[in-house]
Symmetry: C2
Subunit: 457 residues, 2 copies
């Protein structure tokens, strides 16, 4: 069934493993640095453990860190998990604290701790601090690599400080200095170009921009999006309750987090609750998927118990059994469309979780139209199949009613779930299908049971 | 059921409409410019037609354009559709050509043409040119606002040209000039800071960076992502087959497009194929959703016809009817998990569409584990419900087998659909559920029919 991968990709994999096996450090480094992120991710997903260890063992630590930063957190953590804590720590030291924290969060606790013990104490404690934040608030997205300048320092001091900081900060943004008082509270921002034309004896306070815009460390991703959407900032300083400077959030980091949130909503709606790669151990993958599936099967059994109640009706009019899964599936489809529209309007800020009645009114008109169309279609199918117009009427009316129920629930359930403080992307689908299944089975079999004599004749 | 919206939001809406009705241009402009994008989008979604017209009528054209640029394309197009072509054109003239093209693409053709006729001929033809590109290739994402410099011009000429260009280009990036030969082919890039310390008589050729990195106008979003992922560029020039400079793609535009693609995959997987807002006309919304639902109901009827074939078996063992929707739903869930993982691995570049056998092998092991667990659960439920171990065995084995089928189909169908050149986000779900429904009904009823005598006793 499989056709050979395009020659360039096979060649790429061969070339990487060959260079790693030959220990050709320089050539391998040049190749890895020239590859686009998607090719690197592809290669890592296709090399086996020994090959990846050979590649990382051959590359200098900085290049290995560069390679890992091009991968998703879960993929990078999968690679790190194959190294000894000491090897992992050597590579981690070449990363920014925010990347380190993201990786440590992905690893199991014992392994994460083992790696942190190999890092310098100061660095390890900064990583622990960042890893303690949720990864969708400013504190979890900020970088600790920034240039902090004392407000009373002179430009001469600053130039020395910058030179020192540039050595240690790696990828951080050196275009701005963040000016703090002796309590480490942020009091200003200093665009570095302001230093070009002032005397060395000038005090920072006199060249900085005072009272800069900041975000709190618990600011949500939505708030950060709004800030970067409306201003051309490349980064924004993060402060805690006391106004102490904790870090800087970069524009690109926020963009990446928005992308991941959108993608993760899709994954969660389908029951993939945490990032899964097929290169992960099969037991891990099976267990994660099962935790969602087993809740679903219980909900499904509950909904199907409605059928059991009407077993006699079904026995009398067996043709109804053909239409039960259709009613269930189609109502799920209509309802999930409404869920998707609500999820999107929530994420765009077009509705707030309190506006349940408003959304319901806007949704029900679509439900009436589409319910009527689908009801007629399924009624016609039933008449063709069974030759009984009454059967057609029963399933048609049931699907009409249940489509109205499905869009009503589908449109509002994400708002309700969000108001209750749960994640609407995970919970909306299962809640929706359980309720619409129960109602759908009840409509079909309940209506049928009221006219059983005429139907069964 | 609805609780009042938070006071600040109601107040915000009241304040906007009041300022618009009073015609308080300056105050309204200040308010609109101070609002974060999400509040503007919220307000536009909550004001009625007359109120929006009043707001846009009060704002100067530039501020109105700024407001629209904070909205999604569909929301902005909804607002534009409420204006006369002349009013719309006045506002559009304050936008970049790429934003204009995005809006025109959202409008129906007649209205779009009417607005373009009101624009200067040169501008209208540029918008038409951009609107002709797909919106997920470099040509559709690029901006036409850039500074083009003749390679033989002197720095003196350039400074005049820049001053002229800055007036007309609005939001464009003026940090780079793009150097072209007399055929308009791109031959270099000129960072504007290079102009600071050279003589006015120097020729552009001598200060530009020759042979800059470019992308082709048909480059995909993935290629653009790779470029911006691996380089710190803020923008990259777009050239056609002949090397002629067509535009510049900005980093932020690519980030936004990636976000929209991820979100749109989620929407499409749930049957919302083009952007829908609840403020759109109800008939439009109903029609768009129906086009997907009506394909689904046909597929559903096809799958359910398997039940019809086994109607006698079902009549004899009516308890099976309770489990048919459970088998259908649970297989759909397991299969959709596999679809989601494949969609993500495709978008991360971890698998290529040709690797069907490899993905299938990685997926089937999860299917065997989860199929066994779910099969046992449903078998126990059947035994509790009916007291018949044989019934438990039938539905348990059927769900086990069908889970294996579902993950096999789910994991591979996005790759197959993509190889065939269709959109896996739209087509994978319906194909998956149709096949798994058919197989699931066949397994339950087929196995049951082979042991009908013992089951029915």
């Amino acid at each position: 069934m499989e056709e050979p991968a395009a020659p360039t990709e096979t060649e790429l994999l061969q070339r990487i493993t060959q260079l790693a096996n030959d220990g050709s450090q320089d050539e391998l480094e040049t190749l890895v640095e020239s590859l686009p992120a998607s090719d690197l991710a592809f290669a890592v997903a296709h090399l086996d453990e020994a090959e990846i260890q050979a590649v990382l063992g051959t590359l200098p630590a900085e290049a290995a860190a560069g390679l890992l930063s091009q991968l998703s957190d879960a993929q990078a953590a999968g690679v790190i998990a194959q190294l000894t804590p000491a090897e992992a720590a050597t590579i981690l030291q070449e990363m920014g604290t925010d990347e380190q924290a993201d990786l440590i969060q992905e690893l199991d606790e014992a392994r994460g701790d083992a790696i942190l013990e190999q890092l310098p104490a100061q660095e390890a404690s900064e990583v622990r601090e960042l890893a303690a934040y949720d990864d969708d608030v400013a504190g979890g997205l900020m970088s600790r690599e920034f240039i902090a300048l004392p407000v009373n320092a002179t430009v001469r001091d600053v130039l020395v400080e910058i030179e020192r900081a540039l050595e240690s900060m790696g990828d951080g943004d050196a275009r701005y200095g963040y000016v703090v008082d002796d309590q480490q509270r942020l009091v200003g921002v200093l665009p570095m170009q302001n230093l070009l034309f002032v005397r060395r004896s000038t005090v920072v306070r006199d060249v900085m921009i005072p009272e800069p815009m900041t975000v709190r460390d618990d600011a949500s991703l939505d708030e950060l999006s709004d800030v970067f959407e409306s201003r051309a900032f490349l980064g924004i300083p993060v402060v805690d309750e006391a106004g102490v400077l904790r870090g800087v959030v970069q524009r690109d980091t926020v963009h990446d987090a928005e992308y991941e949130a959108a993608e993760s909503d899709y994954m969660k709606s389908q029951g993939i609750v945490s990032e899964e790669l097929r290169t992960m151990p099969v037991w891990t993958r099976a267990r994660r998927r099962l935790s969602w599936l087993s809740v679903n099967i219980l909900l499904n059994l509950g909904a199907a118990s409605v059928i059991a109640v009407f077993q006699d009706t079904l026995q009398a009019v067996i043709a109804l059994a053909v239409f039960l899964p259709i009613i269930s599936d189609m109502s799920g489809c209509s309802g999930n469309q409404a869920v998707a529209v609500s999820m999107r309007e929530l994420s765009l800020g077009l509705v707030r979780p309190g506006e349940i009645a408003r959304v319901w009114l806007q949704e029900i008109s679509v439900g009436l139209i589409n319910g009527a169309v689908l009801g007629v279609l399924v009624a016609l199918a039933a008449i063709v199949y069974d030759g009984n117009p009454l059967l057609g009427m029963v399933v048609g009316v049931a699907l009409f009613l249940n489509t109205v129920v499905a869009v009503s629930i589908g449109g509002t359930v994400p708002l309700v779930v969000k108001r209750l403080g749960f994640d609407p992307a995970i919970a909306s689908g299962p809640l929706l299908t359980t309720i619409t299944d129960m109602c759908g089975f009840f409509f079909v079999l309940g209506i049928a049971s009221t006219m059983l004599e005429r139907l069964a004749s």
